[in-house]
């Protein structure tokens, strides 16, 4: 590491909530999707869980909203460097979905896929025990389309490319299988605290 001549960084107070290499985006919420934002209305949205589960199921907007509501407040971290503190999402905890599909013991990994065809892979353990949600509201309002509305996956303890926008489904597998960005050089898991940005980190 080279100390950069004449660089002191912006004035800062130590923030224990900020993972290494991240900065506080404050009021900004950058949009970083690779594909065209889809025209997807709540009426057209569906969410399916299949693969290594006892009972594959598909929910639509109405049946997903019959599940117990859950609010998540916390921080999000994007691999491009920004973090956003104290964001508030509403939706349903994935645990409510797991209760209904019942993952098989052989299931270890998940491919999350979007209505656009975007994919991302996650260890199943990262989606259980109150750490992941299907979110359709942000800050008390419907989630905007450019941020993944009508509904997105929310896995706030991993870099945000794992929180697939326009979520269409989860397929449970007995092995890890890289998704869209992971095939393009990004890390298989993406833990911000371990700075797992790129393949090989």
């Amino acid at each position: 590491m080279n100390v950069t001549r004449g660089f002191s960084g912006r004035p800062r107070v130590h923030n224990p909530g900020l993972p290494p290499g991240q900065y506080d985006a404050r009021d900004d919420w950058p949009v970083l999707s690779a594909e065209v934002t889809p025209d997807l209305s709540p009426a057209d949205w569906t969410f399916r869980i299949d693969g290594l589960v006892e009972e594959p199921r598909t929910w639509d907007w109405a049946t997903a909203h019959e599940l117990p509501a859950s609010v998540h407040e916390g921080d999000i971290h994007c691999v491009t460097g920004w973090s956003k503190f104290g964001v508030r999402f509403a939706g349903v905890s994935l645990d409510a979905f797991w209760e209904r599909v019942r993952p098989l013991p052989s299931a270890t990994h998940v491919v999350a896929y979007a209505h656009t065809g975007y994919t991302t892979n996650l260890p199943l353990a990262d989606l259980r025990d109150g750490r992941a949600w299907i979110a359709w509201e942000y800050d008390g309002r419907p989630l905007p389309a450019e941020h993944g509305g009508p509904a997105r996956l929310l896995v706030p303890h991993l870099y945000f490319w794992k929180s697939a926008k326009w979520i269409a489904g989860l397929r449970l597998l007995d092995h890890d299988e890289p998704g869209f960005w992971e095939r393009n050089g990004y890390h298989a898991r993406g833990n911000p605290w371990a700075e797992q940005r790129y393949s090989g980190d």
Binding site: M1, N2, V3, T4, R5, G6, F7, S8, G9, R10, R12, G21, Y23, D28, P30, V31, L32, S33, A34, E35, V36, T37, P38, C78, T80, G81, W82, V111, Y113, A114, H115, T116, G117, Y118, T119, E146, A168, G169, R171, L173, H175, E177, P178, F180, W181, R183, N184, G185, Y186, R197, Y198, S199, G200, D201
Partner: protein, 251 residues
């Protein structure tokens, strides 16, 4: 090994190149060798990176500045230069108001300064020069597209390439003196005498899409999110398939 999972819809385009394990995970020292002003707000920075593995037009890197107290600031920047085997790369940076890293580059940086870089990163927006490419950018969104134009020119490629670039005014058009017949500038606030002024419209795209090359275009869109949304919707409305539109949004 089972076959990779394929989602039921295929809107998101696959990566253009395979990126090997470990690509971009080594920090390297880059030495600033030159600064060239492009517009009142943008300048190009030439960096010597002796261990640079090469890149494809459209790829980006991560750059890190380090303070004496150990604080670091990291940013992603698109590569502006074509791959040229010289051991040098170029970045073009806007001065961002209050920008921590761009502020250092525009106010402090001088030849001989050393910074850390890792990359190239991501094969998604890369263009190896093999397919007819329609490039659409605004502001500093033209930077990765210029890498493609320069590559096309340097290699004397015959594959069709067109660039639509939007800027507020001629004075704010980055790389203005480098464009040739492949480029159509669009000025949104003020233009040359007699030239139309206004945002990019379907009328700018129609002649390119109506008279496209056999097999159609691979479209690359780069700019602010607002511009990327606008341009990608124009493309879709004009008949460009969604799975042949690659977007890089400047957050």
């Amino acid at each position: 090994m089972t076959e990779a999972f394929t989602p039921p819809t295929r809107f998101a385009v696959p990566g253009r190149i395979a990126v090997g394990a470990g690509t971009g995970n080594q920090w390297q020292t880059a030495t600033l060798t030159g600064i060239r002003r492009e517009t009142p707000r943008a300048a190009s920075f030439r960096l010597a990176v002796p261990g640079w593995a090469g890149h494809l037009p459209g790829q980006h890197l991560m750059l890190q500045l380090s303070a004496p107290d150990g604080y670091t600031a990291q940013r992603h920047y698109s590569l502006a230069s074509a791959p040229d085997d010289s051991g040098h790369i170029e970045l073009t940076l806007d001065r961002v108001d209050g920008g921590e890293v761009s502020g250092w580059f525009h106010s402090e940086a001088r030849p001989g300064d050393r910074v850390d870089v890792r990359g190239p990163v991501s094969g998604f927006f890369a263009w190896p020069g093999d397919r007819a490419a329609l490039l659409i950018g605004a502001g500093s969104g033209v930077v990765p597209l210029m890498s493609m134009v320069r590559h096309h020119r340097a290699r004397g490629l015959s594959v069709p390439l067109r660039l639509l670039v939007s800027a507020r005014s001629p004075a704010e058009l980055i790389y203005a003196r480098e464009y040739g017949a492949e480029t159509t500038p669009v000025f949104t606030r003020s233009g040359p005498p007699g030239a139309p002024v206004g945002r990019m419209t379907a009328a700018h795209l129609a002649p390119l899409l109506d008279d496209g090359p056999p097999g159609g275009w691979e479209a690359y869109v780069c700019g602010s999110n607002a511009f990327a949304e606008h341009a990608s919707r124009l493309l879709v409305a004009a008949g460009q398939p969604v799975d042949r539109i690659r977007i890089e949004r400047f957050g």
